[in-house]
Amino acid sequence: MVVNSLNRTFAALSDPTRRKIVTLLKERPATIHELTVPFSVSQQAISKHVVYLEKADLVEKKKVGREQYCQLKPEGLRLVSDWTEDFRDSWESRYQALDRVLEKMKKE
């Protein structure tokens, strides 16, 4: 159900460490070890965060040679931004109507 997955996505992104992980992965895929470098928490803690992000369908793991890399699932993020887009669209429509009202007011 669309609504439930949106809740899951937002819950996943509500944590600052996970947000930072997603920001890092936006640059390029990374191993758990590489992801741990900018944080002052253990690798185990980062691993738990990554699992959370996988469950929210935002991140997936891929094996390249002997290493396992985490990478973003583009569809997961697009869902979040589409949703804010709808909200912005509805406000823009409203403000375009206000533009028209202001034009009329200026003429008076």
Binding site: D86, Q96, K106
Partner: protein, 158 residues
């Protein structure tokens, strides 16, 4: 349609959101369009959706209630005005589709120059969940999308 000018900032994990928009009009007109019910009704209802202003007392201590039909059902938005000033309107807001999730709406009008004004709307919610529910309310309750509004406006012009 023209480019999108409205900016929305809704950071993940934060309980608030910002809507900003510039207008090609002097500050006093932008304020008036927010404080005068006859003018307000012409634009707040998304330019095509019928909106009924049951109450509209734009002054400190005044209350407001608008009824809007979304997806075939009537919803109301209501609250109280805490402050109504030419550069700032502060009010509480609750949407009947999400009962008991009142938010604080702080809208400011800033003069850019004699004929341009910057509007900033800061909405502060009681929880992250409330903020996210508000953003998805349009999708969930089937409010009119911008292309549908354009169609309606084009029909009116004809």
């Amino acid at each position: 349609m023209s480019e999108k000018k409205t900016k929305v900032v809704a950071e993940s994990g934060k309980q608030d959101l910002w809507i900003t928009r510039e207008f090609d009009a002097p500050l006093r007109l932008v304020f008036k369009a927010h404080a005068d019910p006859a003018l307000f009704a012409q634009w707040y209802g998304c330019g095509g959706v019928r909106m009924d202003l049951k109450q509209f007392e734009a002054k400190t201590g005044g209350s407001y209630q608008y009824i809007q039909n979304m997806g075939g059902k009537d919803f109301s938005l209501f609250g109280s005005y805490h402050l109504v000033r030419e550069d700032k309107i502060v009010r509480t807001s609750e949407f009947s589709g999400y009962p008991d999730r009142c938010l604080l709406d702080v809208t400011t009008f800033e003069k850019i120059d004699e004929s341009h004004t910057l509007l900033r709307c800061h909405m502060i919610f009681q929880s992250l969940e409330d903020r996210d529910a508000m953003v998805k309310a349009g999708v969930e309750f089937g409010s009119v999308k911008s292309h549908e509004i354009l169609d309606q406006i084009l029909k009116e012009k004809l």
